[in-house]
């Protein structure tokens, strides 16, 4: 089930919200949340609900075990128990996500052909595994106490608003909210606005600009002009931002409607003036997870330049690998690792001297090239596409097809560029804080308008999966 579906909007969500809000006490609300989250998950993955329940049970018991060792000052036992649980979580993730990739590569280099069965990836496994890891590690570090209520713990792991595409919510950030939270009418309304903004981003912008990217991808590489290649790359750049940030906004909005506060996952990343800044604004929950649980434990930037570079490259290779079991994702991660190292030690002083617009162009060109590595089915096709962007193997600089794509995507393209900056939203928000009498009417009309137009689109085209579901 996805948020941008008619069934979710008009059946699942209303029933859930009524049940959640009419029942008293946080403990009962947690139970409602757990039950509905499992139904939500089972809708697409009936078998993998068992995997999730076992995951919840193992990590719940592990948390209690770790806490008991720490209280009894049996630190060695606590350490082994933590390593065991972390390794188990990673093995399960690795098995479902990377098993086929590993065997495929072994088959490519070894003279034997190892038979294997590829497994369907349990949706959201990368997200919820990172959440369980944060829990186990934080309990071991003494940063948080173990959760003693299995319902609350189950609700945390399986919470449907952020279960399948994040943001990755760390247990320590949400622990208090699992015990006590309040939903006021203002907070509920604020959540509904976040949700509708996300829905609009996904249905009205991402899906429409995505169709331009898909049309470009139907043009075979030798028939692609430089203009066509850039229009396709631009369309994907916008699609992935509005798709993913739209989902995150919906998750944050749903969280608020239930009384939770999740961290912001995007902060206008396409306004960045360096790649380092871009990654401070893009998928913030993932970047901060890697910083907290990989980069800093490896030593961060405390061991000199060589060690910092090593640590950065490890983090970025893992970031790439987290996104998918394919070489292009690993290269995509390494690509960013290299640029960030170069910015840190070589470019930054020169970048700082450049006018803002040039720094912005520099960032966006590198980001767009990065997306080619991301959307291409293989490393070879990524290189071909990147070649096309710069005229290598392309069908000239411009052609009729390229102009056609440019013309058809121009209005939507301009709108998406504007919507990817804070300009539109800030202007609109200013209205809410003004003294104008009609402001609430305008606000209501805009949000109801987003809902109605989105629903009209959804009725016509119900299949619109989120790009980040496959991670």
């Amino acid at each position: 089930m996805i948020f941008s579906s008619v069934f979710f909007l008009f059946v699942f969500l209303p029933i859930f919200l009524i049940a959640y809000h009419i029942l008293p006490f946080v403990k009962v609300k947690n139970l409602v949340l757990l039950v509905f989250s499992l139904i939500f998950y089972a809708w697409g993955e009936p078998v993998y609900v068992i995997l999730m329940l076992l995951n919840i049970a193992i990590n719940f018991v592990s948390g209690l075990e770790l806490e008991s060792y720490i209280e009894m000052k049996q630190h060695a036992k606590a350490r082994y128990a933590c390593i065991f649980t972390v390794a188990l979580n990673l093995l399960i993730l690795g098995f479902y996500k990377y098993y086929g990739f590993v065997i495929e590569n072994l088959n490519a280099v070894l003279p034997v052909d190892i038979p294997y069965r590829e497994l369907a990836l349990p949706i959201g496994i990368s997200f919820y595994t990172f959440q369980t890891l944060s829990y186990v590690i934080d309990v071991y570090r003494g940063k948080t106490r173990a959760q003693h209520d299995p319902i609350a713990f189950g609700a945390y792991i399986s919470m449907f608003p952020q279960l399948i595409a994040g943001p990755i919510v760390r247990y320590s950030d949400i622990e208090a909210q699992l015990r006590s939270r309040r939903v006021t009418l203002v907070k509920f309304g604020n959540g509904a606005m976040w949700f509708l903004r996300g829905l609009g981003k996904k249905v009205l912008i991402a899906n429409n600009i995505g169709s331009i990217y898909e049309a470009v991808m139907l043009v075979d590489a030798p028939q692609r002009s430089v203009l066509t290649a850039w229009v396709g790359c631009f369309a994907y750049t916008m699609q992935i931002y509005f798709d993913f940030s739209g989902y995150s906004d919906m998750a944050i909005g749903l969280g608020k409607m239930l009384g939770f506060d999740f961290m912001k996952n995007f902060d206008y990343p396409y306004t960045s003036k360096s790649i380092t800044e871009f990654w401070r604004r893009w998928h913030i929950s993932l970047s901060s997870w890697f910083k907290e649980y990989v980069y800093i434990p490896l030593g961060g930037n405390r061991g000199g330049t060589a060690k910092t570079i090593r640590n950065l490259m490890i983090v970025w290779a893992l970031t790439g690998l987290w996104h998918g079991a394919a070489w292009n994702f690993i290269f995509w991660g390494i690509y960013y690792g290299l640029i960030i190292c170069l910015e840190k030690y070589v470019f930054q002083k020169y970048l700082d001297r450049l006018p803002g617009i040039l720094r912005h162009i520099y960032t966006m060109v590198l980001v767009m090239i990065g997306w080619v590595l991301f959307f291409s089915p293989s490393l070879g096709s990524a290189m071909t596409y990147i070649g096309n962007l710069f005229g290598i193997g392309a069908k000239g600089l411009v052609d009729q097809t390229g102009f056609y794509f440019l013309r058809t995507s121009l209005v939507l393209g301009i709108l998406s560029v504007l919507a990817s900056t804070p300009v539109l939203y800030h202007r609109f928000s200013r209205l809410l804080h003004s003294r104008k009498r009609y402001k609430h009417v305008v606000y209501a009309m805009v949000y109801v308008g987003i809902l109605l137009i989105s629903v009209a689109y959804l009725v016509n085209d119900t299949y619109n999966p989120f790009l980040y579901f496959r991670f």
Binding site: L54, I92, A120
Partner: protein, 157 residues
């Protein structure tokens, strides 16, 4: 209760391992390349002399983006009154199975609706269409030789 935590964890881990092993009973992945599979399937059929359709035809008929899959081969009908066609898809991962199956089902339904009432021969042929999902390969064929091609398909994987 505390002393039971490690035992409980081991018990749950064993259950998890059992679940993981049981999930390995899914469809087998074939490493056979599409060129070989398609070559075997079309051998001796009318498609042998034809060229596969372009990606945009795949998009038009099935709504599938060929680039999203490991490989897609379509032999499309020659004209508007023709229904003979062959689609072979090699998936990137098994999560794509349902999308392709749905697309094939939709294509078949569209064709049946188009010919129902006046194209008795076409409808009969469409009703004999063969769809096979075998691990990472999907086969769909509308042809008198579908049974023969089906055997060749399964053998080639």
């Amino acid at each position: 209760m505390r002393k039971f935590y490690p035992h409980l964890k081991i018990l749950l881990t064993v259950l998890l391992i059992v679940f993981v092993i049981s999930s390995l009973t899914g469809g087998a992945i074939s490493s056979a390349d599409m060129q070989t599979v398609a070559g075997q399937v079309v051998k001796g059929t009318k498609f042998e002399q034809m060229s596969p359709a372009e990606n945009r035809i795949i998009k038009r008929f099935y709504g599938l983006n060929a680039n999203d899959y490991e490989s897609v081969v379509l032999y499309a009908p020659g004209d508007n009154m023709d229904v003979h066609e062959l689609l072979l898809v090699k998936l990137k991962d098994l999560s794509q199975q349902k999308t392709v199956e749905d697309a094939v089902g939709k294509r078949l339904e569209t064709q049946l609706n188009s010919f129902e009432g006046y194209g008795a021969e076409q409808v009969a042929l469409l009703n004999k269409s063969v769809t096979i999902v075998k691990g990472n390969y999907i086969f769909f064929m509308v042809d008198e030789d579908a049974a023969k091609a089906q055997k060749a398909f399964l053998k080639s994987l």
